[in-house]
């Protein structure tokens, strides 16, 4: 499970995350939404141990990420928003690198890497350098790397970005089955349709603060809107999308 208590993070005078209280139970897929700069990535970075909170506590799989980072990190997997990887490595080497950092033995690491790469249709390219890979292929490697040590908790930041329709279908199904096995998944995305269909619960944050928590239906009901998209717009301050679009077009025409 994932738990945060009064979690905050400041960058100088800028408050990126403010007093976030969150509990994600095992088996849940939490859709973590917010406009750009709302504090989603900061939250994920704190929860994965990449940066430290300035206040509050956070635990992953029952372990405090600041006090007991190694135990927490043994149990988490992460797909970052930017597909940053050492692309001079081959796909197989990258998975081996991740397996080494998770202290998997060579036999296990090799068999899991083979399975995962086959699942994503990358078996033929496994010894090809990732600098030659397309965006989607790199994303598949990142997802495979996040799963190689069979984590209890998964943090996925735009995991479907760049994937073709078939690969996206596979990933979505894999995530549902992983949740079915009792794993906890925190899913960040801007594609609200996907979030609505996949996630069992949704949390929306804006300006570093949590502004909504519930199922898609509960959020729609509370805001009195017909879709999650409309609810999101209303909650995050964009009330008249039509008028905004018209203004945008008029600016373009003027130019």
């Amino acid at each position: 499970m994932i738990k945060t208590e009064h979690l905050s993070r400041e960058y100088g005078s800028k408050v990126a995350l403010n007093d976030l209280n969150l509990v994600v139970e095992p088996g849940e897929i939490l859709g973590f939404l917010g406009p750009n700069g709302a504090g989603k990535s900061t939250t994920v970075k704190i929860l994965t141990g990449m940066i430290r909170p300035t206040a509050g506590r956070a635990s992953v799989a029952g372990y405090d990420i600041v006090e007991r980072p190694i135990e927490a990190k043994q149990r988490l997997g992460y797909v970052p928003e930017t597909a940053a990887l050492y692309d001079g490595l081959t796909a197989a080497e990258y998975l081996e690198l991740m397996a080494c950092l998770h202290h998997l033995d060579s036999k296990t690491s090799e068999s899991r890497a083979t399975e995962l790469l086959e699942l994503f249709g990358l078996a033929a390219e496994r010894h090809q350098r990732m600098s030659e890979f397309s965006k989607g292929m790199r994303q598949k490697v990142l997802i495979a790397a996040a799963l190689i040590h069979r984590p209890e908790v998964l943090f996925l930041d735009e995991p479907l970005d760049g994937l073709d329709a078939n690969a996206a279908l596979v990933v979505k199904e894999v995530l549902k089955q992983l949740a079915g096995q009792g794993r906890t998944i925190l899913f960040c995305s801007h594609i609200l349709d996907v979030v609505e269909r996949m996630c069992t619960r949704i949390v929306i944050i804006n300006n570093g603060r949590q502004i909504a928590d519930g199922t898609s239906e509960e959020i729609r009901r509370t805001t009195g809107t017909a879709s999650l998209e409309a609810a999101f717009s209303q909650l995050t301050g964009v009330r008249d999308v039509g008028r905004l679009a018209a203004e945008f077009i008029s600016v373009l025409d003027r130019a």
Binding site: R52, E93, E96
Partner: protein, 540 residues
């Protein structure tokens, strides 16, 4: 005023201005995450002050030489050699991929920017940097020329320094652009670091041979005779401006000056011709130049060392980065020209001798010792900074022990690079000295010392591999101070080597002391670095 000139040259002035401004802005920016605005600015200002002090100090030596020497030809040759070296190394080290890297092309390739405009932006970026560097490195020598020889010579000196700097930059950049056009993007992509290595041989070797030759001549005659052979050396062409201004108007002054202008015009014409017209086309081809696909059945070997955990991860990463990261590979291989030139020079001067015997008189400086002791620390510097630093998030989200990663990095550097390097130096030195045991003991001690230096640098500034953004020229001052220290140690080692190896007790004592120091630093590393690396934050 500039606009018509740019338009005539086929460069879009507005695009050039906008892109140049952005490129310069980016050069002075560092990663923003986890740092306040104040700390970012303070770090940039500190780095600039550091560079100013470093290059001013280098210039001060030349200024003193200008002041005390009475031979203007000698003064100008030394000063221009110095300028060519400073600029040549700066372009090779800090702007090594300025012209031959397709990185920005991915962003700008589809925009309506002409090849020539794009080329002009890249060229300007490098020129702004080198001209600024020239100003800092040459202001003291120019001031010295002004005061010592009068305003005319001072102005000529100013022109000579800037022209020499411009010509050096253009020559190196033209080399890159020419290679891109002639040998093709695929070959350049594969061989760029080797090309840079060859160029650094040229710059470093030229500098070294010139200073050695001049040093020998000056020691015996206190002046530099102007021979036709010496006039083939480009530094003398720019130096002739100074002599002309002093009133010497002979053929040997006028012809070199004309040659310098001619060469600069030829280079400018060449860069403004096909090289720039086909430039973006070549870069575009580089972005699609693919490495050969390897057979899927190939299983990577696990090697003998570093079989599991953090050590294996670090070994895997360093090996692959060496194969694929130009900057890292160049950083590692850059030690070779220096070593070979020092070996060559040592042989000439008789500095390479049996270390168990006293050094020949006046040959107490061993450049090879200096290179050996510098190597691991240079490696460490290149190991931590990388264009791929954003991919280092893996060290932060995985349950890896960061202290183990840092210590493994050191061991991998030693196993992959330092040991083969020491073996190479041992073999070459043994060939000339004749006694393998003596050479092996001496190189072994230097190897231990260099490992100690590496441990100390890691203790002072621990960093995860390839986890920090690259920064142009920011380590200059640290490197300069470090060089002074290393030079001192190598001179001491050279002076006392015969005494050191004179008795078994002394030899064992020294080895024991270095090993003990290494153990102490290791203990400190475990205690301090563990704490420090635990609080590191991802800089991407």
């Amino acid at each position: 005023m500039l606009r018509p000139a740019f338009t005539a040259a086929g460069v879009d002035f507005d695009q050039w201005k906008a892109l140049t401004r952005v490129a310069l802005k980016l050069d002075f920016r560092t990663s923003s995450l986890g740092r306040s605005q104040f700390r970012r600015e303070a770090s940039t200002i500190a780095a600039l002050i550091g560079q100013f002090i470093f290059y001013t100090l280098m210039g001060a030596f030349i200024a003193l030489f200008v002041w005390f020497s009475r031979d203007l030809f000698l003064v100008s040759t030394i000063a221009m050699t110095y300028m060519m070296f400073v600029i040549g190394m700066a372009v090779l080290v800090d702007h090594n991929s300025a012209l031959a890297s397709p990185a920005d092309y991915a962003i700008l390739g589809f925009r309506p920017v002409t090849s020539r405009t794009y080329f002009a932006v890249r060229l300007t970026n490098v020129l702004v940097y080198t001209m600024a560097l020239t100003s800092v490195a040459a202001w003291l020598p120019i001031f010295s020329l002004f005061v010592r020889y009068g305003a005319a010579v001072g102005v000529a000196g100013l022109a000579a320094f800037y022209a020499c700097s411009l010509a050096t930059t253009l020559a190196i950049l033209m080399g890159y652009a020419w290679m891109l056009r002639v040998i093709g993007p695929d070959a350049v992509k594969r061989a760029l670091s080797y090309l840079q290595l060859a160029m650094s041989f040229l710059v470093y070797g030229g500098y070294f041979v010139m200073t050695q030759t001049v040093g020998r001549v000056v020691t015996s005659t206190a002046s530099l005779p102007k021979t036709p052979w010496l006039l083939l050396y480009p530094a003398t062409w720019f130096g002739s401006y100074i002599e002309l201004a002093s009133g010497k108007l002979g053929v040997f002054e006028i012809v070199p000056a004309i040659a310098s202008v001619g060469v600069m015009c030829a280079m400018a014409a060449s860069l403004g011709g096909r090289l720039s017209l086909e430039y973006s086309e070549r870069l575009g081809a580089m972005t699609t130049a693919a490495a050969p696909v390897k057979a899927a059945s190939r299983k990577p070997s696990r090697g003998i060392w570093f079989k599991a955990g953090e050590a294996r991860a670090v070994a895997l990463l360093i090996r692959s980065q060496f194969r694929n990261d130009q900057r890292f590979r160049m950083g590692v291989l850059a030690i070779l020209p220096m070593t070979l030139i020092y070996l060559f020079s040592g042989l000439n001067r008789g500095a390479i001798h049996d270390p168990f015997l006293p050094a020949p008189r006046g040959n107490n400086f061993s450049g090879v010792t200096m290179a050996i002791m510098m190597f691991p620390s240079l490696l460490k510097m290149h190991l931590t900074r990388s264009e791929s630093f954003r991919a280092s998030w893996i060290f932060f989200v995985s349950p890896a022990d960061r202290m183990k990663i840092v210590r493994s990095s050191m061991r991998v550097l030693v196993a992959f690079f330092l040991l083969p390097y020491l073996a190479f130096v041992t073999l070459v030195s043994t060939y000339f000295v004749g006694n393998l045991f003596h050479v092996a003991v001496h190189i072994g001690l230097q190897g231990l010392l260099s490992f100690l230096v590496l441990q100390t640098t890691m203790l002072i500034d621990p960093a995860l591999p390839f986890s920090r953004p690259t920064q142009k020229g920011r380590d200059s001052l640290v490197l300069f101070l470090f060089l002074m220290f290393i030079t001192m140690v190598s001179v001491i080692l050279s002076i006392f080597s015969a005494e050191l190896y004179g008795s078994l007790a002394a030899t064992t004592g020294v080895f024991g002391a270095v090993l003990a120091a290494s153990l102490v630093v290791d203990l400190l590393t475990r205690a301090r670095v563990g704490r420090q690396t635990a609080s590191l934050e991802f800089e991407g």
